[in-house]
Amino acid sequence: MSGAPTSTPPRGGRTRPSRHWVSDFQHWEIATIHQLEHYLRTNRFYGLLGFVVVISGLSLGFQVDAGVAAVRVEQLYRTSEYLSNFLAYTPLWIILAAAFFGGDALSIDFSSGTGYYTLVLPIRRPVLLAGRYAAAALVTLAIAGVYYAFALAGAIYFFSASSVPWAHVATSFGVAALFALAALSVAFCVSAFLHSPAAGVLVTVLALYVGFTVLQSVLELAGLEPWFSLPYAGGAMATVLDTDFIHQQNVPLGADQYYIVWVATVTEGVLIMAGYVAAFLPLSAYLYQRKESTG
């Protein structure tokens, strides 16, 4: 060897398998499918799916038990109001799914042997990240889609299929998709920053749900609009369907006292979500690219 190895005789008469150069887009497809195959067999996917089905089913079941008339009175006789109320909880499911599927999506490469399997392949890390991001987005949207299906089933049962504002529902789901991308961007960034997968999931839930919700409440008491909060932006999913939408509402507390409740407009919500994607996704890619396998 030169060091020294010398000649390169044929491989025992065996023909070497032909290999074609793989574009980044093809690698992205391979990474996405690989990650999807994994996610769709995990306990966390079926656990979260089951949880959504049970909670949504119970909600719908109680409403059915109360009767059509009662629900119609409660929901102001309008299908869109019913859907808006039902879908107001969608951000919770999406944040949970984003934390479950994004919170450890990158840290797993540096905390277990997964990275020694995938990071030695000739795939650029940002492409690997993009594949995992796409797979996580698809499973997150699958979870959200199940919740939307329950909402639509209720709307059709209590009102009628013809009364469902399909275009608004589609728009709302589109906003939900953007919200999922924003939540996943934060989760991926947390995952790229931390070493522990469990910590990544926990920090994502704490930051996106508990942290922002508490901060939002405090700011509202101070009369400030929580324009930076992702859960606040998530309200846009319901706002799309809310015909009596009010952006800023004064809620009386007593004599001459009130506090302000803010609800994001659709445009505002979409801009906040897009901002989160624009800020956190490139940061995730940068951190992931720089991260070393020191374990």
Partner: protein, 311 residues
């Protein structure tokens, strides 16, 4: 076929200030053959391999795979390289075929060629059933799958970090024979603690200690530097114990391995070796009188001891 190569050039790596894990490492290999990478735990062997594949960033210097720095273009650098580093773990939810399919397709194999390569690896390494999930496999089975992943697509350079770790003796033999065949037309760089892996597979050796190269040479020359201090003697008939007094007087230790076999430790001098052979012949017909395969291990221990004393 492309000639594979790997190179490190003035490579250094520190994980914390004042404690370099690697210091100014430089070597280059090209073509076909096998290079053993030896050193005690913490010497920097795995760190070198991680730097080669871009899992770590050098503090200074460069690593090259097939002439490409993985810090500059990871995809091109790793394109024709199979690497087994630490304990690779495919997702436990995937089955063996899916785990290998992912690697094969990432390396540019068509679906048909992936199946062909999986069959080849299955045959070479006696892989577990392809439909079994990774999470169900034993440690040894996972290690064989990881080796198969490194071989998928038949890359010209193989970087292997303790490839026989976690394998049972029979599996180790299979892997060693495989590596021996592969080195004829691949460039294999193998870190290991198993001396027998090195003696049976490698042509060249690099001894690493505290992040520095102690010795880099042909395997036979390294082992030859240190005279073996142990011989195994096999007799045609059971050895009469009463006739061993003279042998014991010359040796530092005599161990009866069986009725017909002795292991004799001595000072390592050739004159003593010749005298021992004569004495053994006096005891009865000798079938075999050979230095033990520990020669390299002795060289290794001696080198480390010498370095420790010097420092």
């Amino acid at each position: 076929m492309n000639m594979g190569s790997f190179e490190v050039r003035h490579l250094s790596k520190s994980f914390r200030a004042g404690a370099p894990a690697l210091r100014d490492l430089s070597f280059r290999y090209e073509g076909a053959g096998a290079v053993g990478y030896l050193g005690p735990n913490g010497a920097g062997k795995t760190t070198t391999l991680k730097l080669l594949v871009g899992l770590l960033r050098p503090s200074s210097g460069h690593a090259f795979l097939n002439g490409v720095d993985p810090m500059v273009d990871r995809k091109r650098a790793l394109w024709d390289v199979g690497a087994l580093i630490e304990t690779p773990e495919p997702y436990p939810t995937l089955n063996v075929h899916e785990a290998l399919d992912h690697v094969g397709r990432a390396r540019g194999l068509s679906r048909d060629d992936v199946d062909g390569e999986v069959d080849r690896c299955h045959e070479l390494l006696d892989l577990p059933p392809l439909g079994h999930r990774i999470g169900w496999l034993s440690k040894g089975q996972r290690q064989r799958v990881a080796i198969a992943a490194a071989l998928m697509g038949d890359p010209s350079v193989l970087l292997l970090d303790e490839p026989t770790s976690g394998l049972d003796p029979a599996e180790r033999v299979v892997v060693r024979r495989l590596l021996y065949r592969l080195k004829r037309d691949h460039l294999v760089f193998m870190s290991t603690h198993q001396m027998v892996d090195v003696t049976e597979v490698c042509d060249d050796l690099i001894f690493l200690h505290r992040g520095r190269v102690l010795v880099r040479d042909r395997l036979d020359r390294v082992a030859g530097r240190i005279h073996s201090r142990q011989v195994d003697v096999e007799f045609a008939r059971p050895v009469p114990t009463e006739g061993l007094a003279e042998v014991r007087a010359l040796a530092t230790q005599v161990t009866a391995v069986s009725e017909r076999r002795l292991r004799i430790s001595f000072d390592g001098h050739d004159e003593t070796r010749v005298r021992l052979l004569e004495l053994c012949r006096n005891l009865g017909p000798v079938i075999q009188f050979a230095s033990t395969s520990l020669a390299l291990e002795e060289a290794y221990v001696e080198l480390i001891a010498q370095t420790s004393e010097a420092s």
